[in-house]
Assembly symmetry: none
Homo-oligomer: 214 residues x 4
DNA sequence: CATGAATGAGGTTTCATTCAT
DNA sequence: TATGAATGAAACCTCATTCAT
């Protein structure tokens, strides 16, 4: 439970439960109608509470953004941890494939939140925006790191590791943001496989162009 | 001038001028605070009119979205025309490079509008959303078409032409949406060159992996 | 309580109470300054609510017209029922006198509402206007019916029953609309008696011109 | 031309012409949408002027009410003059019939204006309302006067001459206000004849109940 | 004389939030 | 803990009116 948001309840369990209820409903509505286009009444209605009651669990509408963000960050850092762990365990090629898979699955599990953060970021308050960007940078660093390591070992040949890392992140976000279109054509696993192939092609494994493709 | 939006002015020149003024200011504000988070007063203040006067040139706030969209579409279809023209004139590889370059420059010339449309699309009214998606689909088709042609002639080897086309579009949008970050690291020309290389690598020109890279 | 108008309150009693409060104040203001000349703030001020709170009980300003109308219609149909009942019980002459008396008292009990509806009718939305006219037609039919019956039985001699019925209705409305002038000269009972005499004189009871006058 | 309303024009002819144009259009709109529901733009549009230009001929929107009223008064006093003249020339019965006929035709010739004044009167400024009521009182006095004279000479037997006079006025106004309904059933001449008969029946010409009916 | 552009004031309505219960 | 009533502030938009041309 975020300790930084005022509560009138002392029952942590309940606070947790209500907040997740609020966030779940709010995110959906925000994605449909925008943050300012969604009223507290809308949210209250969607999560079967009264709007007055919502204020027992958050201080104000803006807190919902923070909660969504924090939820996303927990997942993000879990992804980062697991990906880095993989890098220790596996060779760079496998580590990259592993990281991509983890990342895309992480995104897929939080599509609504990712979409909201991605779309809304420009209009968030400065401190919130900074935090979101920080996490995105940390995620990007995971990939950049793997790419650098691959280059150092001669296994990859990349020019512009940072940008390729950015691209990978964007492909993930694209899955969330454009899911309306993509979701009809691919499952997350197919999407992961095809995009992984494309990425691997870009790291220019001369002479062994296809062995890594399943 | 969009003939479909009510005006109380009869001076076409002025209407054009005021509308572009309105749009220019509005887009910036929308990107900063979101559509619903931006008030007509904000816009009026930004473009040094009274909010009452704005209503001499548009019917309502929603029209601003339409105007932004229409402006974007004119540019989009110009890109489509030029890219298709290139495809007739040039070989597929050059045609692809040409299309990418045109597309990225098109995006760069309308970054604010693209960002707004891209971010806000989910919350637009159905008819507007449909139009925006239609144009995006037409843009995507340009790339898909080139890729198919290259595959047919044996010059490309792509699996998943449609998705690669989607990716290219997304890379363009990324330049607009993440310009805050990317703009500091690359000029549009550098960005174009690096991404073009990455894309070309993905079309798997076996045996001639680098001749096309400048 | 009108079930067709949106409320954010769940307390029916309160809704009833607030709505009647709103209507009572609104009608007075409408008659003084016209519908469009009266602002929601005016109304709110008059009934000691905030204008925002009014919207907990009605959907919009137009609903006030509907509520006024519906209140009037309940009374109108009560008059119609009672008058028709009288026609079954009494001879035509007594039935006519009874109906006039009932009608005038009905009008007197809702003077403000009648005045508003009568004056404003031309500018109401089509559906509302149609309803008001329908009720007025039903009221007129009551008198026309009595007059026809009297003619059939030979007790009355009227040429133009329908117009005489219209006239009776108008005399009633006149009591409401011109009450500023008439109210100083007559009580409703006096007004009723004098007008009843005039009406009875018009039905031409040959040979017995005065026996029915008290 | 009303000398009391500011003009920027010195061409009396033009002022007269423009004002009558304005009034003619405004009255129609007022009756359809109410005074406050009609915008200057509406009026300007209806009389093919610009709203700015209207202000060359009147000081403000309220002046239109005054102009309508003044136009009506000219006609009213013409009616009063002619009716009184008739009373000198004719016997009371003929004078009454003459006055009714004149009055109804007067109303018919200015239906829109009468309707507007009748409906709007309650919301006019005090001085305007006073003037309208004054004229109505003068009109009423014409009939009251005839009725008194007829009673004095023994030709009439009326109890409540003033109220009967009021009724006659109301019947005339009814022709204007309810013309939508009545106009379909009667011409003004038929309406006049039937109502005249009804009125004459009320003055109780014992023994000669019908000789005056055509 | 007539016009089009412009605006301050004010209209209706919504909303985030509070508070007594 | 949860609720329903209430509200100040602000949103979009319209209008009567002015003024330079």
């Amino acid at each position: 439970m975020s300790k930084n948001i005022r509560t009138y309840s002392t029952n942590e369990k309940l606070v947790e439960e209500r907040r997740s209820q609020i966030i779940r409903c709010a995110v959906k509505l925000f994605n449909k109608k925008g943050f300012d286009g969604t009223s507290m009444r809308d949210i209250a209605h969607a999560c079967k509470m009264t709007s007055a009651n919502i204020y027992n669990y958050i201080e104000g509408k803006d807190d919902i953004i923070r909660l969504i963000m924090e939820g996303g960050h927990v997942r993000s850092y879990q992804f980062i941890r697991e990906a880095n762990e993989g890098l220790e365990r596996l060779g760079v090629i496998e580590a990259l494939k592993n990281a991509i898979s983890l990342f895309f699955r992480h995104i897929d599990g939080a599509r609504a939140g990712v979409t909201f953060l991605y779309r809304g970021i420009a209009s968030f308050r400065d401190d919130i925006r900074a935090q979101v960007l920080k996490v995105e940078a940390d995620e990007t660093a995971v990939f950049e790191n793997i790419l650098h390591k691959g280059c150092a070992s001669g296994e990859f040949e990349v020019n512009g590791a940072r940008l390729l890392a950015d691209n990978i992140i964007s492909l993930g976000q694209m899955w969330a943001v454009k899911h309306g279109m993509l979701g009809g054509r691919y499952t997350i696993d197919e999407y992961t496989r095809v995009q992984t192939n494309s990425i691997l092609r870009q790291i220019q494994l001369n002479g062994k162009p296809d062995y890594y493709l399943k």
